[in-house]
């Protein structure tokens, strides 16, 4: 008998009587968006991210020009930032070629108030490795696109289909050495979240809810 058949028959023999999954709809989305934004900013700051409020995209350019004064590699798929940044949509699909990226600027579909996480899909990353291999990461999120908690996150993304997607919450970190917190373990050393008062991400990336 194949291992597959073997395992499945053992489970069929040993499993308990059917128990239905509970109804978790009570969790739902029960928060207001203003409260969400305040909580998101507080929690994200608490886990090591920097929050910058902006009213338009040129403010991102100014901020980044002040931060990065050398010629290090910056990549973004946001059309308005091309010029300051290399066009992320043109980057060849060989992930190793991104090893020298200093800063990547990408969009998030939404943020999560309870944990400061941002939902980023492969479409927004351009190349999957980009938000992880870059030395520093900046994520742009619309101020209206903050949901209360993880239940609301999965309600919002229900039915969406992504080859790869991730919640990213703060910079990469470790406390493996005597529980001392160190930022920048393997992923980005820092995370800046630009909270924008207008929608710049492509509407077509949005799942139909």
């Amino acid at each position: 008998m194949s291992s597959r058949a073997d395992i499945l028959s053992r489970i069929a023999k040993n499993k308990p009587q059917y128990i239905a999954a509970p109804d978790i709809s009570a969790f739902g989305n029960k928060h207001s968006s203003n409260a969400n934004l305040d909580q998101f900013c507080a929690v994200a700051t608490g886990i090591g991210a920097t929050i910058i409020f902006i009213n338009n995209l040129s403010e991102i350019k100014t901020y980044i020009r002040n931060q990065i004064t050398n010629n290090k590699r910056i990549i973004s798929s946001i059309p308005e930032l091309i010029g300051l940044a290399e066009d992320g949509t043109l980057v060849q699909a060989i992930p190793h070629k991104l090893e020298d990226v200093e800063l990547a600027i990408i969009c998030a579909e939404f943020g999560v108030a309870e944990n400061g996480a941002l939902w980023v899909t492969e479409t927004q990353m351009g190349t999957r490795i980009l938000p992880f291999i870059t030395q520093h990461l900046a994520i742009v999120v619309n101020a209206n696109d903050i949901v209360g908690d993880m239940h609301a996150s999965y309600i919002r993304t229900a039915g969406s289909d992504h080859n790869f997607a991730a919640f990213i919450a703060g910079p990469s970190k470790t406390a493996d050495i005597e529980q001392s917190l160190v930022l920048g373990a393997h992923g980005s050393r820092s995370l800046v979240v630009f909270v924008l008062n207008m929608d710049i991400c492509d509407e077509s990336d949005r799942p139909v809810l």
Binding site: S3, I11, P16, F132, H162, A175, D176, I177, A185, G187
Partner: protein
């Protein structure tokens, strides 16, 4: 893992350095306190635990159906699904995939399942080099030790010891023990590894039957660095890691990291659904005793475990005996109810490595009745004849003594006389009770004697 030494003997080695035991104890208690703070900030915490537990009840009662559903969806998504009945088959499948791709070097992110299967050892024997990329795991790998904790693999190590390891293996300055510097050194060393490995193996935190996707959670970003740079991504998962629907991730991701480290969520919660263009993605579904445990009504709830480590951080025995004392891949209370299922004889000591205080059960995010199961395993182990022989002899002697009033009185007298006139006869290392305990002061008389003189007339 077969070993001659049991938990008590191995704890004795750990307990030789009292300062270190205190430090270990306090560090883990601090993590437990962070968990409390994070969980208390969630008004729905108890409801979440209950829901998680109930979702897992459903998973266990429909596990075969969900596995078939997951296999179909994942295959449709372009992932190759493999089935492994035991550790040996899992290791063989990994090796076959690597052989087929001509890979001699692999990078791995945290997977307790591969520790359970002793994959690294197996691959090394077959000439395949494996590098663990989680910082804590890399440290214990350099020290040639297993992880001592499922979430904090090198929690037993002092930074000076880690500094020495890095000096020898990674060329840091002698005596350098600054966590910042050591982490930066590991970052540079492992970047080189990530960029040059053609195959990466990751664990799986949750797999969704509904969609065929799986979720991997890390703080460091090492699973993603490995997987997205490699041509071949292998994900190893225990069959109990399945959840029915995507929306259930909301419940488990809220519980997992708050319970583990007190963070609201891990830095990265990566949802893998399809391989990237040109990449091969494999999932190995591993049984290795899980379907047997499913058939033990008293112990099947242990399969609900989401590997957060909260039961270890809170356990007074774990905190003071260290993870290595459990001589199994998963230490602490949960490991002590999982291991006897794999080998009742080798792990007969583990259910006894507990005070049964119940703190593990209280913090468990999926409400596993851990301390009840520890107690029940003790009954099974003794009944099956794997109990401690000395303890059994002592119990028989006690049974015999308590059954006879004259013997009982005689034994009481002898005991009081010895404690009073010849304490050295019991206050020595021959008496296991005397280890870490003072013998009591002998009372002047027994209760029976007292009652005879003081009974109401």
């Amino acid at each position: 893992m077969s070993t001659q030494k049991n938990h008590a003997e191995l704890s004795e080695i750990f307990n030789k350095d009292e300062d270190r035991v205190n430090w270990h104890d306090e560090t883990l208690w601090w993590v437990r306190q962070k968990r409390d703070k994070a969980s208390h900030a969630i008004p729905d915490w108890e409801l979440l635990r209950e829901m998680a537990s109930q979702i897992k009840n459903n998973v266990l009662s429909e596990l075969d159906t969900y596995l078939i559903q997951f296999e179909a969806k994942a295959t449709e998504n372009g992932i190759k699904v493999h089935w492994a009945a035991d550790a040996a088959e899992h290791n063989q499948i990994v090796k076959d995939i690597l052989d087929k791709n001509g890979v001699k070097q692999m990078v791995k992110s945290k997977s307790m399942l591969t520790e359970e299967c002793h994959l690294n050892h197996y691959l090394e024997e077959h000439g395949i080099d494996v590098i663990d990329s989680d910082l804590g795991e890399r440290i214990v790998q350099l020290a040639k030790e297993p992880p001592s904790h499922i979430v904090l693999p090198c929690i037993h190590k002092k930074k000076e010891e880690i500094g020495d390891l890095f000096h020898i293996h990674l060329g840091t300055e002698a005596g350098m023990s600054d966590p910042q510097v050591l982490t930066e050194t590991a970052r540079l060393h492992l970047r080189e590894v990530f960029l040059t490995r053609k195959a990466a193996l990751t664990g799986v935190n949750f797999a969704v039957a509904e969609t065929g996707e799986f979720v991997v959670c890390t703080n460091e970003g090492n699973a993603d660095m490995g997987a997205h740079l490699a041509d071949v991504h292998i994900a190893s998962m225990g069959i109990e890691k399945l959840i029915p629907e995507r929306k259930h991730l909301g419940v488990f991701l809220r519980l997992l990291t708050r319970s583990a480290t007190g963070q609201p969520i891990t830095t990265y919660s990566s949802h893998f659904k399809r391989p990237r263009k040109g990449q091969e993605m494999h999932i190995i579904l591993v049984d290795n005793g899980r379907s047997t445990q499913l058939g033990r009504p008293d112990f099947r709830n242990s399969l609900k475990c989401i590997r957060c480590g909260a039961c270890m951080n809170t356990c007074p025995v774990y905190r003071r005996s260290g993870g290595h004392s459990y001589h199994t891949a998963i230490a602490g209370p949960i490991g002590s109810i999982l291991a006897p299922n794999l080998d009742m004889k080798d792990y007969a000591d583990l259910p006894f490595a507990s005070t049964l205080c119940g703190s593990c059960t209280n913090v468990c995010p999926v409400k596993i009745d851990i301390h009840d199961q520890l107690y029940k395993w003790r009954q099974v182990i003794v009944k099956e004849g794997y109990g401690d022989k000395k303890k059994a002899a002592g119990m028989h002697a006690m049974d015999w003594t308590l059954a006879s009033p004259s013997l009982f009185n005689l034994a009481g007298k002898a005991g009081r006389w010895t404690l009073k006139h010849a304490p050295f006869a019991v206050n020595n290392s021959m008496n296991p009770w005397y280890k870490h305990r003072d013998m009591p002061k002998p009372p002047a008389q027994s209760f029976t004697e007292w009652f005879k003189t003081n009974r109401p007339q």
